[in-house]
């Protein structure tokens, strides 16, 4: 395998002080190659969202290193951080978190471009382009978020992440709030975007079936540590760690 696009080394993160100190990330390491999806599964409180935030450089970790495209980005600031942010974007569980209810969706999608100081005429063209790319029509840019269904709003949130042409997307439970038939549409979209742009994904989810569908490899997280990482089919068929087996056994399976 060529050098990974993202490499996380021994990342540590605690919250609180003294005896109340809680270790959210306890020496986490992972790698994601270009064009690859790494699925990250675990139950609530295991640290998966804290890890996602660390990778997004939204919260500087207490220890460890985050490398992107061969460079240490852990301590980036100022213009260098802004340039890095163009390459790594995030999609959240609740699309309403990334859409201002008072803004036309076109304006929300355009925001990252403004932050990147892209000229106005190009902004309009890029917004129209990305709306079509996520399966909406270019002329919806003037509408407010409340005029869209949950699934359409998640498409808009994905458009907002995609508009800066990132290389890496952190997807934090992007389909967990959606109905299964809508989830199917979003998963189909994510697969298509990845194949067309050779994107890398970190796909964070509590849903093993969904992760198994999308991910090339899966890491299982528990209590701030990654307990097992492996190719998706293998990890699901022959889990090695006891916790992975517990997790798999708990998933309600459809009768076959």
């Amino acid at each position: 395998m060529s050098a990974p696009l993202l490499a996380v080394h021994d990342v540590r993160q605690g919250f609180g002080h003294g005896t109340g100190r809680f270790t959210a990330l306890d020496g986490v390491g992972l790698e994601v190659a270009r064009g690859e999806t790494l699925g990250l599964v675990g139950e609530s409180g295991c640290g998966k969202s804290t890890l996602a935030r660390a990778i997004m450089l939204m919260q500087r970790p207490d220890g460890g290193r985050i490398e992107f495209d061969g460079r240490d980005v852990t301590n980036l600031r100022g213009p260098a951080l802004r340039r890095h942010r163009r390459r790594v974007q995030m999609v959240f569980q609740d699309p309403n978190d990334s859409l201002d209810p008072r803004f036309a969706v076109g304006r929300s999608i355009a925001e990252p471009l403004r932050a990147q100081r892209v000229p106005g005429s190009e902004i309009r063209r890029r917004v129209a382009e990305v709306l079509v790319e996520v399966g909406l029509s270019a002329d919806v840019a003037g509408r407010a978020p409340h005029e869209f269904s949950g699934g359409q709003r998640q498409r808009i949130a994905i458009a907002r992440a995609m508009v800066v042409r990132p290389e890496f997307l952190v997807l934090d439970e992007p389909t967990s709030a959606l109905d299964v038939s809508v989830q199917a549409q979003i998963l189909n979209l994510l697969v298509r975007l990845q194949d067309e742009h050779r994107l890398s994904y970190l796909f964070v989810s509590h849903d093993l079936a969904v992760v198994h569908h999308l991910a090339h490899r899966i890491s299982v997280m528990r209590a701030g540590r990654i307990v097992e990482t492996g190719p998706a089919p293998q990890l699901v068929a022959e889990p090695r760690h006891e916790y992975t087996r517990t997790l798999l056994a708990a998933v309600p399976h459809l009768p076959v």
Partner: protein, 288 residues
């Protein structure tokens, strides 16, 4: 021999809000000791059916039915006062979010006792004994001490156990569970589902189980009703419905879920409202 009467029978039930039809001529029945699933996506009408079975519909709802029998009571013309006499006693409910069903300022033991005292099922001493008994029945660790806990001192799974204990306390004949495990982690969900099955086995209560999760329905339900846009499009034994779906909506729903046997990263089925699958003749298998 007379078969045991159903604990829930809704026949020809329609529920409208103004010009909007939320539930359209639906038949649902739950027998004693049966766990019956209602599966559907948001807005399908599944929760409206659950609320109708508990007399909890908003006053704006326009309800029509030929038969509405809940826990042996003909509730067609029930007033709120009538409902209050059976709700929490003969028919009980478990909601998705345990915190919204519990009083944060009251010890859980008290809350379980309240159900019994309110309905005059037992006196204070009896209620205390029964509270401990049901808390043990739902496998609350260290039940005796936990009676004195407040909800915030419990984990999410434990809170849902308390809610189920409250639902069991007065020995109801019908329990309506509306997405009881949706807010829980999968390992906790597995325990709660096991608990519901045990409760059914131990008490013979019928359970109406509302869920959007086909896997959960498959695991816990004897029979299932598939609702789509206010209509029951398919019903039958859950194993049959999930392995051999006969209505195009059920088929599409199953194909929209990533599952073993579906090649990873291949397109999943998409259900378009323009297909109007709710208009395709329903496939209703008569319950045995």
């Amino acid at each position: 021999m007379n078969p045991a009467p159903d604990v829930l029978e809704l026949r020809d039930l329609s529920i409208r809000y103004g010009a909007t039809t939320a539930v359209d001529r639906v038949d649902v029945r739950v027998g004693r000791g049966e766990i019956v699933g209602v599966i559907g996506e948001s807005g399908s009408g599944k929760s409206t059916i659950a609320l109708a079975a508990q007399g909890l519909l908003p006053t704006a709802a326009d309800v029509e039915a030929s038969v509405l029998t809940v826990a042996g009571h003909d509730v067609l013309d029930f007033s709120e006062r009538d409902w209050c006499a059976i709700r929490g006693k003969d028919t009980t409910m478990v909601f998705q979010e345990p915190m919204s069903a519990l009083n944060p300022c009251q010890r859980i033991g008290r809350q379980i006792e309240e159900v019994l005292l309110l309905h005059g099922v037992s006196d204070r001493a009896g209620a205390r004994t029964r509270a401990l008994e049901v808390l043990r029945q739902v496998h609350m660790p260290d039940a005796e001490r936990r009676l004195r806990y407040y909800p915030h001192q419990l984990s999410g799974g434990q809170r849902q156990r308390v809610v189920i204990a409250m639902a069991l306390a007065a020995r109801p004949s019908l329990i309506v569970a509306d997405e009881p495990t949706t807010a829980l982690d999968v390992t906790v969900q597995a325990q709660i589902l096991q608990l519901l099955r045990e409760a059914r086995d131990a008490t013979g209560a019928g359970v109406l189980f509302i869920s959007h999760d086909l896997g959960v329905i498959g695991q816990v339900c004897d029979r299932v009703y598939v609702v789509y846009r206010g209509r029951v499009v398919e019903s039958g034994p859950s194993h049959r419905v999930l392995t051999d779906p006969r209505h195009p909506y059920t088929t599409a729903l199953l194909r929209s879920i990533p599952r073993p046997g579906v090649a990873p990263r291949t397109p999943l089925a998409v259900i378009s409202p323009e297909d109007h699958l709710e208009d395709v003749a329903p496939v209703l298998e008569v319950a045995s």
